[in-house]
């Protein structure tokens, strides 16, 4: 029963939504909107489970004094602190304390994590562009040309720009499209497997 009901629901909604894609009428559009709303509602209920998981994992670490348990204290204090500051009597989400914490702590930390990407690109490129084989040499040459394309190179600017554009628009685009076609077909195949009940991994059993 635990397997059958979800399978029937997936089949019914899968077929209905597949039909809905081809039917533009008003009832069909309304059905789609209701289905999307349902998804949002399920997501909100699941958020409760997520928060509970966060508390449970953090609390257990602190209780057992597991290694690096102090991080869990920071996590839980931050979570409850932000939630408290966002309550209506504290001014809600637009309240001064919540805004201060959000703008001056959360956003800069987030930006700092994102900025690491620049350094990681450099270190990853260094490893990737070492000419150890014919393929990595091709990669190195292609990358060099593309890097030269965005810096002033005087009389060489035009030919380098043309070669760079050709590499982006022809071999690179062809490879990207090949992968995209495969991804598109794979998506349809996976969707079909799920709707027909062939793929059941989402039920917790493969």
């Amino acid at each position: 029963m635990k397997q059958q009901i979800p399978l029937v629901l997936v089949f019914v909604f899968g077929v209905l939504l597949a039909i809905q894609y081809f039917v533009p009428s008003e009832p069909s559009q309304r059905f789609y909107e209701v289905a999307l709303d349902g998804l949002t509602v399920i997501g909100i209920f699941a958020m409760v489970l997520g928060i509970w998981s966060q508390i449970h994992v953090g609390y257990n670490k602190i209780k057992r004094r597991a290694e690096d348990w102090q991080y869990s204290v920071v996590t839980l204090v931050s979570m409850f602190g932000m939630a408290f500051c966002g309550l209506s009597f504290m001014g809600g989400l637009n309240g001064p304390i919540f805004r201060q914490l959000y703008n001056n702590i959360f956003i800069p930390i987030q930006a700092a994590i994102f900025s690491l990407l620049a350094f990681y690109i450099a270190s990853a490129s260094y490893r990737a562009f070492r000419a150890r084989s014919a393929v990595s040499t091709v990669l190195l040459v292609a990358a060099l040309l593309l890097m030269l394309r965005v810096i002033p190179t005087g009389p060489l600017a035009d030919p380098i720009n043309q070669i760079g554009s050709w590499m982006l628009m022809v071999p690179n685009m062809a490879a990207k499209r090949a992968i995209l076609i495969g991804v598109g077909l794979g998506s349809v195949a996976t969707a079909l497997k799920i709707v027909l009940g062939i793929e059941r991994s989402y039920l917790g059993k493969d």
């Binding site: 894609y21 081809f22 039917v23 533009p24 009428s25 008003e26 069909s28 559009q29 998804l39 399920i42 997501g43 699941a46 958020m47 409760v48 489970l49 997520g50 928060i51 998981s53 966060q54 449970h56 994992v57 290694e67 690096d68 991080y71 930390i109 987030q110 994590i113 994102f114 690491l116 990407l117 990681y120 270190s123 990853a124 490129s125 490893r127 990737a128 990207k176 992968i179 995209l180 076609i181 495969g182 991804v183 077909l185 794979g186 998506s187 349809v188 195949a189 996976t190 969707a191 079909l192 497997k193 799920i194 062939i198 793929e199 991994s201 989402y202 039920l203 917790g204 059993k205 493969d206």
Partner: protein
């Protein structure tokens, strides 16, 4: 001294003269900027209105023949204004302007809202009248009216016939290959190095006594990549349970976490070790992208997992996670259907599943006839798409006609 004073006075007079000149120039309106209403352009003719095809019943298509002054004659047309009303006898003030199109355009799709309260509401099954004006410089033409027309909804989108054919062909191929696989006919699947490396990676983790980190990405449970990843997660969980090692599964979405918990639990049960499953091994972190990265990177650097598996939907965090894994010295297996993230995984990970290989992983691991059948159907459909593309390209090169995009602009049957 007198020379200095002379020089100063000269400079001062020059500055003053420049300022005066500039003031004079700005006060005189340029001749070309003056908007002199010209003679009104000739109105558009033969205005027709009809229900907008393939819509939800809240759209009308307005079509007209261009004004004689549009690109010809006096060439005075700049744009066309389209107005709508319920009663053709309404005064001008009650006609509602619904759109403007530039010169040379002969049609306008008036797509209204469904809700009566909204400003751009367009009622269904109601007589509607339209006016089209040709607009010149500060003037507009005499009116051209048309109507009535009623908006009705359609029960099949004829523009989606190619997609329907594609789906039906795929369905037929899938059923055929599933039947072939069920009969025991061997269906070859090319080796996927990334998937074959999973067992080896789990063995390495067991030898080192370190955990395996499995990241499902930042997608939701509705993303195909995440669903494909669940299948691999189930297999990895079973192997992990068999080898009696441990795994960490941080999740970015609470629904994904719930499914992942169930999948891992089932994997442990299938391996005959349900008692070894730890609920805390699959946990929710946050739905925010970079806080999730911070948490997972922290876990990687603290726990130093022997193997990191990144399968699912990834965006900018792909390289942030993979490079941290390199710093931690982990073996890394990645796979995503996000083309823009694949280069990052390729340079930073030991094995990468490219695009559809991620979807094929479940069939490759399971070797079940049903899954192999869909995989084979997918391959054959890809071949059909390839043949169609080459044929259309050749046809275009030979005939010069736009046979590639034209059939998709409007129904060709």
């Amino acid at each position: 001294m007198k020379y200095i004073i002379l020089l100063f006075l000269t400079c001062l007079s020059l500055c003053l003269s420049q300022a005066l000149l500039a003031q004079t120039a700005s006060s005189d309106p340029p001749a070309e900027a003056a908007l002199v209403p010209s003679e009104p352009p000739a109105p558009p003719s033969n205005v027709r209105v009809s229900d907008l095809a393939n819509d939800d019943g809240h759209g009308i298509r307005v079509t007209w023949d261009l004004s004689p002054d549009d690109g010809a004659g006096r060439s005075s047309v700049i744009s066309y204004d389209i107005y709508r009303t319920l009663n053709p006898n309404d005064p001008d003030s009650l006609w509602k302007k619904v759109g403007t199109v530039v010169l040379g355009v002969r049609t306008y799709a008036d797509r209204g809202e469904r809700e009566p309260g909204s400003g751009s509401y367009l009622p269904k099954h109601t007589n509607l009248y339209y006016r089209v004006y040709a607009v010149g410089a500060g003037v507009r033409s005499a009116v051209a009216t048309a109507g009535p027309a009623q908006a009705t909804d359609d029960w099949f989108n004829t523009m989606k016939v190619p997609e329907l054919i594609f789906c039906l062909v795929f369905l037929v191929l899938t059923v055929r290959f599933i039947n072939m696989a069920k009969k025991g006919i061997d269906l070859y699947v090319r080796p996927l190095a990334g998937i074959e490396a999973i067992d080896e990676a789990i063995g390495r983790a067991t030898e080192m006594g370190k955990p395996i980190l499995y990241v499902l990405g930042i997608g939701t449970a509705g993303d195909i990549a995440t669903i494909a990843s669940f299948t691999v997660l189930g297999r990895v969980a079973r192997k992990v349970a068999e080898y009696q090692t441990s795994m960490i599964v941080p999740c970015c979405d609470p629904v994904v976490m719930t499914i992942a918990q169930e999948t891992v639990k089932t994997g442990y049960a299938d391996a005959g070790r349900p008692d070894a499953y730890k609920e805390d091994s699959v946990y929710y972190v946050t739905s925010q992208q970079f806080p999730f990265v911070a948490a997972v990177n922290g876990t990687i650097l603290r726990e130093k997992p022997a193997t990191n598996i990144y399968l699912g939907y990834f965006a900018a965090e792909s390289l942030l996670l993979a490079e941290t894994g390199v710093l931690a010295g982990s073996i890394q297996i990645a796979g995503t259907d996000q083309v823009s993230q694949l280069p990052f995984f390729v340079v930073a990970c030991d094995y990468t599943l490219l695009g559809e290989e991620l979807y094929a992983a479940s069939a490759y691991l399971g070797r079940e006839p049903l899954l192999l059948g869909t995989l084979k159907a997918q391959d054959y459909l890809k071949a059909i798409v390839l043949v169609c593309m080459v044929a259309l390209l050749a046809l275009r090169m030979i005939t010069g006609a736009d046979v590639i995009s034209k059939p998709f602009d409007a129904p060709w049957w």
